[in-house]
Symmetry: C2
């Protein structure tokens, strides 16, 4: 599965910016893949892209219409169907992150077939995987893990990709969630895979590679989250991570959507090493990525400094201060993966 | 989903006894639910049940035809379709443990609709689950865990159900795999559930219950198996186990189908306690269940004795010596769950 760009981002008529979080993530990380946005009357979201009709986008070379919004219930409103059919008729593929499958809507499925276009439902997986084997693959892998869900694991992996590439590393972001799939044009929403194939799907996402190549694998959930820890563990085993970055949000009191307290960063490091060693005995923590948005600048700097001293690891806020310190640690610990470029 | 009994077991024309393992498991544990077996010419499996035609079984009151065999590739051979249609026409539901869905075969789906009968594909799950919440539920739960796959977790849970019921406990086996689903007439093949819902599905299988009631939950995989540990962890978190029994096969050298060595029983106990505490802080090991088939009687007895001394836990072979000692430990540790019956 490869979602072709450039994209036209469809925002429908969603009532707020939060509903267009996926589209915004695509713009944040792949602005140059996006030609414009298509909004219906009443839409209260705005990614800042130029507004375009389907025809304008098609004329400008758009390859895929991305339904990058969530709406109540995950259903596709009746009045969006016409736009999707228009896009198919204009020669675009359509990719959706909604819970409902595009292919389950007869009018859309039929138009796609007639026009010879592809439908991508990134929340679903029809891909057949093998069960994970746990056999060591060549190449280097970094996994972002978390003290909780929604603590910046995707953001950290993408920030590392950008910074590592800038410093001459051969590094690719590997998506395991729907927004990440749109951002990289490929990948698998790992939480949609049948349970038996979690680790196998990750082995497929991140196959054997050149020994100096880094896959930067987007983590999901947390080993300490009672809803999703199974996904996180299968992901860890499939990733065979050589290195991991712990992502954290310091003001959160309980795990997302449940009453459980957050684990400490120390606990996450220990458990990740302990469990990850099953498929890669040399797994090690390489940095801490913190969303310090809720702290003022002084408090944020102090907090990161404290983490750094406590764990002997670089601690960074990828949005506020960048991930340079983590990349320097990667360069120091894995000097043979530096590629052709000298230290920055 | 409730598969109605009595059953007629369909063995097709499979080439050996191993291919009918599922059917044999049903006979071993629910002989009184089985009226007979239906074999086609060339069948080399035999469960020991009387041979019956569809009509004979229907006349005797059979409610469901069980396709309790595996065959190469998991497909349904063409020449089995007629028998399944016959069963539907005779008023039986049909339940299958094959990889292929009965409902995906047009002739079968149509006959089922015409006859108003149900099709059960126990390797697939169309059930919608909520994500697991991790909120403590009332009632007691025991989970069988393993050093590996296929070390007797289902067998141990069923043996405990039998022995605990005989001693006056209120105890129910809860199936999480396909054979278990046939044996209990309900349950979910947990490895077929979408990854996000592993723990939620287990919460659904084992809902809140009377405080003295035991659910004996069939474990899957192993926390140390690189292919399936995610399933095992989601299952552990969803089960909120008060107690667990470690299942083991002493002659196995590597984990099933992979090159990884087996963990020790000690490692399994420690990791299960450590990870299980997330949803039940009072989780504890309550016994060890060993398949000693490969050892002679003296060696088996010595081995169990050694485990018992080493772990301060009753160690039993459920097939050879029964699980009485484990049930005695349950009675001692959880005296309020003994029900109305006095100590045996």
């Amino acid at each position: 599965m490869l979602i072709r760009h450039p994209y036209l981002l469809f925002l429908g008529d969603v009532p707020d910016q939060l509903s267009a979080k996926t589209a915004q993530g695509i713009v944040d990380w792949r602005r140059d893949w996006c030609l414009g946005q298509l909004r219906l009357p009443g839409c209260e979201a705005d990614t800042g892209l130029p507004d375009m009709t389907v025809q304008q986008a098609a004329d400008a070379g758009a390859k895929t219409l991305i339904v990058g919004v969530v709406n109540a219930g995950g259903v596709l409103p009746e009045h969006w169907i016409g736009v999707i059919q228009q896009a198919l008729a204009a020669g675009l593929d359509v990719a959706s992150g909604l819970h409902v499958r595009l292919s389950s809507i007869p009018a859309i499925a039929e138009t796609a077939r007639e026009c010879g276009r592809e439908l991508f439902d990134v929340r679903h997986s029809d891909q057949k995987f093998a069960v994970g084997k746990g056999t060591k693959r060549s190449g280097m892998r970094l996994l972002t893990v978390g003290t909780d869900c929604s603590v910046g694991k995707k953001y950290a992996a993408l920030a590392l990709e950008k910074e590592m590439r800038a410093r001459g590393f051969d590094a690719d972001f590997k998506a395991t969630g729907q927004t990440g799939v749109f951002i990289s044009g490929r990948g698998v929403a790992i939480d949609a895979v049948v349970a038996d194939f979690i680790s196998g799907a990750v082995e497929w996402i991140s196959p054997a590679a050149d020994i100096s190549h880094w896959d930067l694998i987007e983590g999901q959930g947390s080993l300490f989250h009672p809803s999703f820890a199974g996904v996180s563990l299968g992901l860890l085993h499939g990733a065979q991570a050589d290195a991991f970055v712990v992502c954290h949000e310091p003001t959160r009191k309980t795990m997302r959507n449940v009453a459980h307290p957050l684990p400490s960063i120390r606990e996450v490091i220990d458990m990740t090493v302990r469990l990850g060693a099953l498929t890669n005995p040399s797994i090690r923590p390489i940095g801490i990525s913190v969303n310090t948005q809720a702290l003022d600048e002084k408090a944020a700097t102090d907090y990161l400094k404290r983490l750094q001293d406590e764990h002997f690891l670089p601690a960074a806020d990828p949005i506020r201060f960048g991930v340079g310190s983590i990349v320097e640690r990667i360069a120091a610990d894995f000097p043979l993966t530096r590629g052709a470029v000298k230290a920055g």
